[in-house]
Symmetry: C2
């Protein structure tokens, strides 16, 4: 294996995830992909859960990066851009997005994963608070609660859309319209 076998395994798993979906990411497939024996990954990860948690953690880190670098002159515009980035990430990386919230496959309490996902939520809270302070937007409500509510709305939209539930009731191009309704509802 390479110089950093742990990173090598995470990379193989990430590629497998993007190519063939969550189901395909088994320890044995990862090992085969990485060119090692079926038991080798267990030398670097306590089990499948720990490896998948590490993969999911990179997903949270990437999502946070996208949210933080979202451009905009005002805080409200940056918040709006971050919301769009969330949906963009989910629809563009459906398998990674699914893994990140499959609590049967990952361990939300793993230190690394808890760190990256908490950082994501904290960053989002700050975006919300910034928009609140900048222009007296919903100043009455706790920014943490408001951030949780808005995040939920975005998250639910991504999940229902990816699941296909909305897909039968709505036309494929109507997801943008629903997202616009959600943003209109919150950001005004």
């Amino acid at each position: 294996m390479g110089s950093d076998p742990r990173q090598h395994l995470i990379a193989s798993a990430t590629a497998l995830l993007a190519d063939e979906g969550v189901e395909a990411v088994t320890l044995r497939r990862i090992a085969r992909e990485a060119g090692v024996s079926h038991g080798a990954p267990l030398r670097h990860f306590a089990g499948r859960t720990e490896l998948l948690s590490a993969v999911a953690s990179t997903g949270f880190a990437e999502l946070r990066r996208r949210g933080e670098t979202s451009a905009g002159a005002t805080a409200a515009e940056r918040l709006r851009a971050a919301c769009l980035a969330y949906l963009d990430f989910a629809l563009g990386n459906p398998a990674m997005f699914e893994l990140m919230f499959r609590h049967d496959l990952i361990d939300a309490h793993a230190p690394e994963l808890a760190g990256t996902s908490d950082a994501l939520f904290t960053g989002f809270c700050e975006l919300v608070r910034g928009a609140q302070e900048e222009q007296g937007w919903r100043t009455g409500t706790d920014s943490r609660l408001l951030a949780a509510s808005l995040w939920s709305a975005l998250h639910g939209l991504a999940e229902l859309w990816l699941w296909g539930e909305l897909g039968r009731a709505l036309k494929p191009d109507e997801i943008d319209a629903v997202l616009r309704v959600t943003l209109e509802t919150y950001l005004r």
Copy 2:
């Protein structure tokens, strides 16, 4: 097996689901629970997916029942009650709720399941339309899009809460507060 083996198996699976979670609901466990051999369920269902789809379908039916019978003098009150019922169902039956949206375990295109879940969305749309017409609430927006947006917000809140992501950032009793923020945001 009983007079209606199909129903018997669904009942065993439902009990197993509530008792031990989604992971425990394997074909072989269901068979053991129902007191038959490990291959017997395949005489009544084409595979695990079909059996779990039937179980999930009962979940959608129950959820719809709760939403339709939600009391309220005005349409707006009935809509609000239905929203509360959605969260109540998710938090009270976490395993069933999880199964209902695990598209890797069930087949969303199975006729029975598609019927019950479509009926749920349609009913919710009508509740939204009713509230729109009754009191000129958000009359500019398509009721289907508005219903999808609101449903997403509720669904995301349930998922994130059950997943535990919000649980680390928020105190256990703050989910009610977030729900109130969401309802305030939409229903005004």
